[in-house]
Subunit: 312 residues, 2 copies
Amino acid sequence: MKILITGVAGFVGKNIAQKLLDQGHEVYGIDNFFNSTKSDVPKGVVFFEIDVANVEWFDFFKNIDIDIVIHLAAQSSGEVSFKIPNYDCNTNVIGTLNVCEFSKKNKVKKILFASSMSVYGESQGLVSEETPLIPLSLYAVGKKASEDYLRIYSRQFDIDVACLRFFNIYGIGQNLENMSQGMISIFLAQALNEEKIIVKGSLKRYRDFIYISDVVDILEFLAKASSLNGFVTFNVGTGEKTYLSDLISTIQTVSQTKKDVIIQNGTLGDQNGIYANNSKLIEITNKRKFTTLNEGLQEWVTTLKRENNFEN
Amino acid sequence: MKILITGVAGFVGKNIAQKLLDQGHEVYGIDNFFNSTKSDVPKGVVFFEIDVANVEWFDFFKNIDIDIVIHLAAQSSGEVSFKIPNYDCNTNVIGTLNVCEFSKKNKVKKILFASSMSVYGESQGLVSEETPLIPLSLYAVGKKASEDYLRIYSRQFDIDVACLRFFNIYGIGQNLENMSQGMISIFLAQALNEEKIIVKGSLKRYRDFIYISDVVDILEFLAKASSLNGFVTFNVGTGEKTYLSDLISTIQTVSQTKKDVIIQNGTLGDQNGIYANNSKLIEITNKRKFTTLNEGLQEWVTTLKRENNFEN
C-alpha cells in the first residue's frame, strides 16, 4: 500500500509510520516541524517539509497513486489555539480541506483522520458518538468542522473516511519538551526533570488515557480493512476513567519520584471530566484489550531510562 | 453608535448600512468586491477595500471605538463552495475568526452574524434551533464552525453575539447577475432577461423566503437592543413554506412574463425542503408581521421597472 501521512513527524505520525514501514508499505509524509524536528521523521519515509495548509504539497504526490491518507497534521493544543487562532484554523481546518481536495482529485480510497474527544466540549462524563458536540476551545471547533468536511467529501466523492475521536494518547515518542500539550507528558516531564508538578486546573478532573501502541494497532487495522463502508466516526479511548489525582500518584510511583504538586488556574476551554464509551470502536476493530495506565507508564519510563533521557 | 459592517457592499450589507446611515449612525465598512462593486457601497460609509480574512483591516479601526460589528462578509453560495473550497473556508471561517479576535481586542460590545439555514443540511422540513445540524455543503460547514467560534468568544470574552440563521432573503439590491446565489434573484433575472427559467433540482423543493426589508428591521432591532444577554442563535424566516413550483408561478405573474421552465439536475449539497420555526425570532424581536412573497416581489419588480434595469 502507498500511504501518505500528514504530520508524520508528530507523536502518532512517527509511531504509525514506523510500523507501516516495518511491514514493507510505501510511506510518504509531510510535516512543518511546528512541534517536532527532522530527526522525528522515521528513516524510509519519502518526506517533504511543508505545511498541510499549503496546497503546493499536492504537486509532490501527483504522480504517486496514494491509496490511503492518514491525516494527523494539526496544531494539537486547546490552550494554544487561543493564543494563535489563525494558525490553528489554517493548519487544522484549511489543512483538512486540503486533504479532502487532494483525496478527491487523486482518487484516494481511504482517509483516516485524527479527530479529538475535545469536540464534545461542554458534554461531560461518559460520552458516546451520539453525545452533542459543544466545543469549548477553538481547537475543538476546527476538529468538529474537519469531521463535517470529511463527511461531505466521503458521501459526495465516494471516499472511505474514519474520524477517530482520540482521547488522551500518551507514550513513547511523545514530546516531553512541549508544556502545552499532552497531559501525561507534561506531568511526567515535570516529575522527572522539574522541582514541582504544576497542575492547571482541578485534581478532580478525569480523563481516558490510551497508550500509543493501542492507537497504532487501531490505525493499522483501519488502514488494512478492506472497506469502511463510507463514513464512520468513533471514540478511541479505553473506557477507563482516571482522576488526575490518581494519574499523578501513578506517575510518581512509576517514575520513583516524589515532587510537590501545585494547583493553578485551569486553561481556557479545558474540559472537566470525560471518558469514552468505546463500544463502537470495539465493534469496528474488534479490539478488546487495552494497555493499562500502569503498564503503559512502566514501558515508557523504562524506555526513557534506557535512553537516559532525563536528569535524576 | 459606531457600527462596522463586513461585506458592506453585499445585498444585506448595503441595505442595513443605508438604514443606519439615514438614522445618523457612524457606519464603517469593509468588502473585497467578490460579488459586488464600489458603486454598491452606500455614500457615507467610511470604507476600506479589503478581504475580511486579511487581518490588516484591524489597523484601520484600531483608533475607533466600534460598538457593534455586523458580520456579513462571506462567500454565500453552497454550489460555489465546492468549486473554490479554500476561498470559501478562508473568507467564511478565518474571516469570522478575525471578527472574533478584532472584537476581543477592541472590546466590541456586540456582534450580529449572518449565519444560514444551510447549517441544518440533512435536517429537512420545519426546523427549530434545536434541530440537528448536518451540513450538506462546504459553505454550511463554514457557517456552523463560525457559530461555534462566536459562542466561545461570547462566553470567554463577554461579547453579546446573535447568530441569525437566514433563510432565503430576496429583494431590492440583490445581484441579478450572479447566477449561483439567491434562488429568487436567479429565477427573476431569467424571467425578465432570458428565454427560459432553468431550475437546478426538483420543483417540489420548498423554501422560506424572507424579504430584505424585514431582515433589515430585524438587524436594526438587534443593533439597538440594550443587551442580548450573551450568546443567542435563531432562525430568521417567515415560517411560510413555499414550493418552487408556486414561487415560479408567482414570479411569472408579478413580472408579467411566461417563460418555459427547464428542470436540470440539482446542485451539490442542495437541500430538499426547509422552512423556519420562527417562534424564537418573534420572542426576541417581537416582530410578528412579515412581507408576503407577493408583496415583496411586487415592490421589487416595480422598483426594477422604474430603474429600467431589464430588457423586456
